[in-house]
């Protein structure tokens, strides 16, 4: 059975190679081919899953060693796979949601002339992501880690004729590279500490080294996780990444790739368990990001950017849970899976709305769409209820457990983390209700032409005054798009409940991640009650602001916080001033210095030392032959000097 593992990765990889090198003759069938390869990988995943369930909990992990990759001295990297319960969970999520999104893209990208290439990139992403979760050592994981970064770069910049898309793609790759630095250093530390970076020996030997080393490794892994999972302080790329086609946002920037950081931390649990300081850093990052993303999500009028803020925030919950140790790992992964369902569903719903609205993304230009897009409305609505944690739906089970575990951290820390998680739940309810109300309810604002913004007065007269405004004709998307949305909506409703039956999910993961029951200072019922209370509060406030009152089709100026949140809490301004402009000054100064100082100094030294300026003149006047004479002369002097020196 273990020989099938490589097939999981190989199927989409072959698909990518075929589609990207196949040329125009595959233009007509490419999208079906791509979907087929994704589905094949899913089928293999299901077969392996069935096989795994047939074995007892302790014998479920499978290994497949393909070949030795880099053997140099004591350094040895293998191309080898490890399929255990944690990897299996990811495999099913990645290939399952991935296949659905392939299907959806057939409809969404129908009119794009480069659709074949799009599917090639999607397949490439699947292969890299599967490599990431199946690798049995950190260096191979790193290959998948950067591979998904490449796929993400190619897909964000898919419409690269748009400068904004090309810039966003570059930004995503660069910020991720900062995180990758962390992963490289972590691997190097593992190598010098343990002499290996394979999961098995490293994770089993954490007791053999000092806590300081483990803390350093943990912090470097956290840096990597921050980059890939868009956590503070490396979160700035995710909002811009929404420049990519919406299926990409759903698959890569919501359901799978951005959760890789959670996988990394959970996989490295043994290291973090032995390094409490690193764990504190992890929970701090998670708590800050879950609030940061939620606040940003409240202020965005672009439906995809609002959802991106939400993604950031939800991953913050997962990172927080993963930082709590054995009381949180299983819940981090459980929330990751349920989030994979409902957030992918929400993004696909947003894509469906855009599809019917001439690619408009500004929610202030939506309104009352529920009549025109009933399927989208219902599926999006179920995803909405799931994410805010409506009792009985998926998000309720997974998020509630994380909030409980946060309180169970104990002491002041527990109260702070639990409080932050509760506050985050309230804000989530607020901004998601806002999205829902602005899109599907209220006045049909798209019927009127947009009024020009007072901040950016347009040179041309408004379309309406010229009588040229043609309102969009909102319509439901084709079946090939709505079907995946329906499947994901079903997952959003039932997955959480199923996972929680008899603690099935926790028991499933326990052999890999270990599990301990947390003991919150207040009873679990109280936490649940509080969660439901803040949920109602958030929904209520949103209804007062966006349901009862009409939504202006032009954004009001807003408070200081709103304006800062629209600008991603000024993070981009900071980056621009410090790195972009500061870096620009640095490099141009260096260019000057290189020309005048370094070059000048070397030339000057050379000229004064060896009479080279004379040689230069002669060479330029064409006496190349004198080269030999001068060389001999110079040599004679230097030889004499050396011989004399020998006596020293």
């Amino acid at each position: 059975m273990e020989n099938l593992i490589a097939l999981l990765v190989a199927a989409p990889l072959v698909g990518a190679a075929l589609l990207l090198c196949g040329g125009k003759r595959l233009d007509r069938t490419g999208h079906w081919l791509g979907t087929l390869f994704a589905a094949a990988s899913f089928a293999v995943g299901v077969a392996l899953f069935a096989d795994m369930l047939g074995r007892s909990a302790d014998h479920r992990a499978l290994h497949q060693h393909l070949f030795t990759w880099i053997p140099v001295g004591g350094f040895r990297a293998d191309v080898a796979f490890q399929l255990d319960q944690l990897s299996m969970t990811f495999v099913l999520l990645i290939t399952g949601v991935g296949s659905l999104i392939h299907v959806y893209s057939i409809g969404y990208m129908e009119h794009d002339e480069r659709r074949r290439r799009f599917f090639g990139y999607l397949n490439l992403f699947l292969a890299a992501m599967l490599l990431l979760v199946l690798a049995d050592n950190y260096l191979l994981l790193y290959v998948g880690w950067e591979g998904v970064g490449l796929a993400s770069y190619l897909l964000i910049g898919f419409w690269q004729h748009k400068p904004s898309a090309a810039t966003a793609a570059k930004k995503a790759f660069l910020v991720n590279r900062v995180g990758d630095m962390g992963l490289s250093i972590a691997i190097m530390l593992m190598f010098t500490t343990f002499g290996t970076f394979a999961f098995g020996p490293v994770l089993a030997s954490t007791g053999a080294t000092s806590e300081g080393k483990l803390t350093a490794i943990g912090l470097m892994l956290l840096l990597a996780a921050c980059g890939k999972s868009a956590q503070v302080p490396l979160q700035s790329w995710l909002g811009d990444a929404m420049e990519g086609p919406t299926p990409v946002s759903a698959l890569i920037h919501a359901a799978t790739m951005v959760t890789a950081g959670v996988y990394l931390i959970t996989r490295s649990g043994a290291i973090f368990n032995a390094a409490p300081d690193a764990q504190t850093a992890v929970v701090a990052v998670g708590a800050v990001t879950l609030l940061f993303g939620a606040i940003v999500g409240c202020a965005k009028d672009d439906i995809k950017k609002a959802l991106a803020g939400s993604t950031m925030s939800q991953i913050g919950y997962m990172i927080l849970a993963a930082g709590l140790g054995p009381i949180g790992y299983a819940f981090a992964i459980m929330h990751l899976v349920t989030h994979g369902f409902f957030k992918a569903g929400l993004f696909l719903g947003a894509g469906s709305v855009m599809h019917g609205m001439n690619d408009e993304v500004d929610m202030r230009r939506y309104g009352g769409l529920r009549k025109y897009m009933p399927v989208t409305f219902v599926t999006f609505g179920l995803g909405y209820l799931a994410i805010i944690g409506f009792p009985g739906l998926s998000g309720f089970f997974s998020k509630d457990k994380i909030i409980e575990a946060a309180f169970a951290k104990g002491g002041t820390e527990g109260w702070i983390l639990g409080g932050a998680a509760l506050l985050g739940a309230a804000i989530t309810a607020f901004y998601m209700t806002r999205v829902m109300l602005m899109t599907f309810f209220g006045e049909e604002r798209w019927r009127k032409a947009p009024t020009p913004s007072p901040d950016q007065p347009s040179v041309e007269p408004a379309a309406e005054t010229r009588g040229e405004y043609a309102p969009p004709h909102p319509h439901e998307s084709p079946k090939v798009m709505t079907l995946p949305m329906i499947v994901l909506a079903i997952g959003s409703v039932f997955a959480g409940g199923l996972f929680s039956l008899n603690e099935a999910f926790v028991k499933w993961l326990e052999p890999v991640t270990s599990f301990a029951h947390g003991h919150p200072p207040v009873s679990a019922t109280t936490v649940t009650a509080a969660t439901i209370a803040v949920l109602l509060l958030g929904v209520g406030v949103a209804w007062l602001m966006y349901g009862r009152r009409p939504v202006p089709s032009l954004a009001p100026r807003g408070s200081l916080l709103t304006r800062a949140a629209r600008r991603d809490l000024l993070q981009d301004d900071f980056n621009d001033i410090v790195f972009v402009r500061g870096g620009g000054h640095l490099t141009t100064t260096l260019v000057q210095l290189d020309h005048t100082l370094v070059d000048g100094a070397v030339n000057g030294t050379a000229a004064s030392m060896g009479g080279l300026s004379g040689l230069l003149r002669q060479l330029q006047s064409g006496f190349v032959r004198s080269y030999a004479v001068q060389m001999l002369g110079g040599a004679a002097v230097l030889v004499a000097a050396t011989l004399l020196m020998r006596g020293v």
């Binding site: 140099v72 900062v178 010098t192 100094a601 330029q620 040599a635 030889v639 050396t642 020293v648």
Partner: protein
Amino acid sequence: MSFPLLTATAVVPAIGAIATAALPAAKRTAAKWLALLFSLLTFALALVVAFRFDPGAKGPFQLTESHAWIRDFGVRYELGVDGIAVALIALTALLVPFVILAGWHDADTLEEATPNRRWRPTQGFFALILAVEAMVVISFEATDVFLFYIFFEAMLIPMYFLIGGFGDRAGADGEERSAGRRSQAAVKFLLYNLAGGLIMLAAVIGLYAVTADQLGTGTFSLTQIVDARAAGQLDLGTTTERLLFLGFFFAFAVKAPLWPLHTWLPGAMSESTAPVAVLITAVVDKVGTFAMLRFCLQLFPQASSWATPVILILALISIVYGALLAVAQRDIKRLIAYASISHFGFIILGIFAMTSQGQGGATLYMVNHGISTAALMLVAGFLISRRGSRLIADFGGVQKVAPMLAGTFLIGGLATLSLPGLAPFVSEFLVLVGTFSRHPVIGVIATLGIVLAALYVLVLYQRTMTGPVKSEVSAMPDLRARELVVVAPLIALLLFLGVYPKPLTDLVNPAVEHTLSVVDKKDPKPTAQVNAVPGSGRTGHAASDQDVEAAK
């Protein structure tokens, strides 16, 4: 006497150079094909060398040839290869056919511009390329210091004419100005390298004097000197060894080039045609880093250790400085040149990290950097020749009109930024790990290069290939068949060596171990004892693999 395989590998391109140069002016096309044929023959011979070479054999050098040459001075015609040399000879012989193919039309403009010429540009161009190849190959083979020195210096002459004589005619200003800049770049190249060479010559003669003094008969033979040192017959003395080391190292650092001796490279690379730029950075410069491994470390082990801290710092500066300057460049070829300076920093860092990962990685880096730079630079050359400009700002939106050109350029760029899965990642990571295990702080700072490389590559790609299509590039044709023949194999090789570098590491590892044993350095041991994992498939496999290897 067995067939002198190593001599043949160097002589074949030399004969090719003479034959090509001898063709009459009218036979331009024949000259191109003849040069290509000879370069392919050389490649075939290099492959034979690689297959005849046995990585497991005892002794530092194989396929050796040894003849007395200048008896009075103990100069011998001594050739021999270790795994490192085999890899680099293969790289050289592999790249030259692509260089020739890519430069197929580089001399044509000169033919048309100067109808009443006294020389034959096409014949000259290809003959010079083959001449460089011959000299580079023999430099990799020579185990006699003097023999090495002669060809190390002599290759400057054909390079000088290649840089000064054949520009890409894509400068921002008129032909006259760019001709001036071109000859200036060529002279600068020559002067820098001559200065290095002169100092080295003094050190070479100094070395001879010392051996003559202590061994009775003077020698330039690397193996003799290393053996005599090991046997305790030869003791250079601390000061002399250091001075001699510096003499050698200076020449190699100019050629490599190492900060602050790098300033000749951007000019030479940007003013010459793209294939010649590849010849400079991917082939000729490698002689410098190769010679550090072969001569500096093995002849002067103690002085090498003594100089290590300074050299590591200079290499680190090269990495960061080269990358930062690449970011600010407005000229595509200058950008690639500064990127190369950054990469040479990595190579030198790996060599002087004095670990098997560092030096093995550095050797792999030389090969991989050669392939990746060739891919990137040659595609850049195709791009530049289409537009007639090297300025990044003159491009935009090329992806839309020439997707294959853009795609191959991106892959070349991704290799340059060491994306995992492509060959340069393997070598860069090995260098970093090898450095980190002995000098953690330097290793950590060097990883900054990862981020900066992404910056200059992606900015270059974004500005040239994406965005709205500029009107000047709207009619740009995509890759032609000849160009695809140049690029596709290089990309395939980058992928192959990224996924399966084992043939290369197997070749290089014993040579690196030998070098380290001469320098008397051992890899640092891991600080913690690793627990065996019960029932883990991996360790079981690892053990059985080693058994198989041992059985061989």
